[in-house]
Symmetry: C2
Subunit: 484 residues, 2 copies
């Protein structure tokens, strides 16, 4: 229910995040602004204790009065809260955390372009995959259709897929679910007890945040550096949070697109293991390496107790609604018993379709990757040409660009974008401990023409952001719309 | 998490449930046995306070010492617990509440007959329904396939179906889910807050009990009389429990098969409304009237705030994995937002299949009913011929017979039945407040030959129950198997 942050940051750690370029005069104001941006970007989570004025002054070789003035400015602006005898804690002014509305697909009936769901139409090969499964429909119809663990054909295909990738797996270690989000719900309900703490990268997949927050647990963020996972920082966060479960997305991380290197994998898994935490790996996007590169070992291969979740939604098509859990043998029975109280299984026909795609769908996946690469590059090109002040790293895979805006305008932009007929999810929805107003997730799952038009509409919305007062945003009835 | 019972039963109410036939000598022992059977059958839930010795003595025109001896016998046997200054409370000895194992479909690989799931193979018309939907697959594949509210075609068809049955409904009041159990989970997570109380009939659908117990709420039972709902008793239970939500199954109630009469419907809905409770109606079996009879008005038609859940699993085929929620307009948005954190929608292809069946599947439903009627009558005949001491009422619809055994042997029978190659769900799994050892749920969803063989195996198991000591049941590793 509540969010619990990394509890403190040392003066040395804060200095490292603050001093890329020399401080400008007045130094206190520049320092305050840099700290504020760390908070805005979720690099300093809400509730984290800052070093004392004295410690930070020493670390930065500045006078204590300069630090005091910077902290005072941050407190006045609402980004820092002093607690008597306890120190100064990062806070995020409330209005900035809450998105103004939930944009998404349900709003599209009015002609809006939905840029909230990172999913597109099915690749051409899907029709043939459905036809292939239809040939075996009579076998299914002769059964009850209840498959609490999943269709054996699919579990065999999945076991082969995991094993070939370097994570030996037998079909008895797999539970088929209604997509990866459903898998996350089953795992959370089965493995967590009230009061448990769960660690997740921040930013992370917005629906995972919602799903975990629906449990009676405390969710804490590990601020993911722009350069990717830092095992030392992660280990420190783990030590402070002591999470029962650590939810990580190592492959084309949603929303940033980060891809954990091969060398980092044993280090990250080791840090989680040493903290006594169980690793929950989300591999939803693992098949979407768009620029080639050697396949990387599943993170769970370095962590014997790890649970891995995945989905056919991104590699093939979201409308399949098939995901899975891969778990150690001792967890499989409790997982199935838990899921049996939530739903009674995924649709067996789509399980047949996915089993076929896993064994015989390499060309479908290749088609999917080619299309996504083209769309990614198209969107990146349009954004560069249209928004010279927006910055982003083109990810090596996945489905989204994680754009940094020059201002804390993500929610305002999302609100105005809706007026201009394009729905985007504001950055704060991807943040565990607050922050995110300087970022925007833009999926490249639509075709080029739609992406071009979406950028054109965003251009108008951005012009409005630049000219209107922050308080001048017109409020409207919220469209009901959801992200994915 | 915990179960909370009807808190007290008056002397007059208890007398009514006790004295069908004259008491035999020794009176105290007969009285104790009758109270014990009320507890065993769930008609007196665990935790319910019994009348004082004096009150019951007056009510039954017996001496107080007779009542005292009966209560003493019940305490000795573990069915009554005295709490100083508070009175005597019904309890169920622990070992009788817990089923010895979870029987079900996963155990069938060894050649066992699964009688735990009330679902069979698909009726012949299903193949054509799939083929019909396949013709429209290209439309679906051109979309993202994410439908958090559900396919419009299906919601339109469902709205028409509800409206024709006497509950005016528009498509905006419907949310499509992965089956009725998934619908129950969405409703529970959306509408309940920790500490809420929920009332359910006892016995009731076992997976509903599991799903509700997974919420941080208190579940209480309304003991469903063998003759069906009693509005006066229900109102009294509602007054004592004060539930936020009242989960009722008025149409071919699972597992008893009871069908709420047309006259009772406004009375039951009125009692729930007066108690300030929201009605949650489970219509999963509503289409399975097997002996004809005029259709009855949806219970929600008498309760404006009611939420109704339903499913295509029983009328058509479980492998469709399509259910729905029908709710007042103001609840639809919160329900969709809640489900979006649980899964991202049901499979769109099966939604097309079900939309087709609702508009054009009357012959499929007729085939389903004919088959079920034949199988019901076959099972009833075999049971009567094989087990003269077992009693049951043939239900007017639904999928199961709710058999009363002459002994409290349901869990023992289930355990021994597994040894003989037939899996059955013991009665206690359907009970909210304990009890159920005298009942067994037997679905008639399999074909006649399978039912004949299942009864033959049960006959052997029952012979074992009769000859073995209760403590002599061989323990084995539990097969992982689930009910539905």
């Amino acid at each position: 229910m509540t969010s619990m942050a990394l509890r403190s940051i040392s003066a040395a750690q804060l200095r490292e995040r603050l001093v890329g370029t020399p401080l400008t005069t007045p130094v206190y104001a520049d320092l305050a602004e840099r700290v504020r941006l760390l908070v805005v970007d979720g690099r300093l989570g809400g509730g984290v204790r800052l070093p004392s004025e004295r410690e930070l002054a020493e670390s930065l070789s500045l006078s204590r009065s300069t630090i005091a003035a910077a902290y005072e400015a941050l407190r006045t602006a609402g980004y820092l809260q002093a607690r008597r005898g306890a120190g100064n804690f990062a806070t995020i002014p409330h209005a900035r955390v809450v998105s103004t509305h939930l944009p998404g697909p349900l709003g599209e009936e009015d002609g809006s372009i939905g840029m909230t769901c990172a999913s597109g139409s099915a690749p051409a090969g899907l029709a043939a995959a459905y036809a292939g499964a239809a040939a075996r429909l009579p076998e299914l119809l002769a059964s009850t259709g209840y498959l609490p663990d999943g269709l054996l054909d699919l579990r065999v295909a999945l076991a082969g897929w995991f094993t070939a990738r370097g994570l030996p797996t037998d079909p008895g270690q797999l539970v088929v679910t209604n997509g990866a989000l459903s898998a996350l719900n089953v795992v959370a309900r089965c493995l967590l007890v009230p009061g448990d703490r769960v660690l997740a990268e921040t930013p992370t997949y917005s629906n995972a945040i919602e799903a975990l927050r629906a449990q009676p647990i405390r969710l804490a963020g590990y601020p993911l550096p722009a350069s990717g996972w830092d095992p030392v920082e992660l280990e420190q966060t783990l030590g402070q949070v002591r999470p029962a479960l650590s939810y990580l997305v190592p492959d084309f991380h949603n929303p940033t697109g980060a891809w954990m290197s091969e060398e980092l994998r044993p280090q990250v898994a080791g840090a989680v293991r040493r903290a006594g935490s169980r690793l929950l790996v989300d591999e939803t996007l693992v098949e979407l390496a768009l620029d080639g590169g050697a396949p990387r070992t599943p993170l769970a291969a370095y962590a014997p107790g790890a649970v891995t979740i995945g989905s056919a939604s991104k590699a093939f098509w979201s409308g399949l609604r098939i995901g899975w859990i891969r778990a150690p043998h001792d967890l499989v029975r409790p997982l199935i018993e838990t899921r049996a109280a939530m739903d009674l299984g995924a649709a067996p026909f789509e399980q047949l379709v996915v089993a076929g795609l896993l064994t015989d769908g390499a060309h479908v996946l290749a088609e999917q990757r080619t299309r996504l690469r083209r769309q990614r590059d198209h969107l990146a090109g349009r954004l560069r040409a249209t928004f010279p002040t927006w910055t982003f790293t083109v990810p090596a895979g996945g489905l989204t660009l994680w754009v940094q805006l020059p201002d804390e305008a993500s929610s305002r932009l999302a609100g105005l974008a809706h007026d201009h007929g394009v729905l985007v999810t504001p950055g704060p929805r991807f943040h565990v401990d607050g922050g995110g107003e300087r970022h925007l997730r833009l999926p490249f799952t639509a075709g080029e023409a739609v992406l071009t038009e979406a950028v054109r509409r965003l251009e108008h919305a951005w012009a409005d952001v630049q000219t209107r007062r922050p308080g001048g945003v017109r409020r409207r009835s919220d469209p009901l719309a959801l992200s994915a």
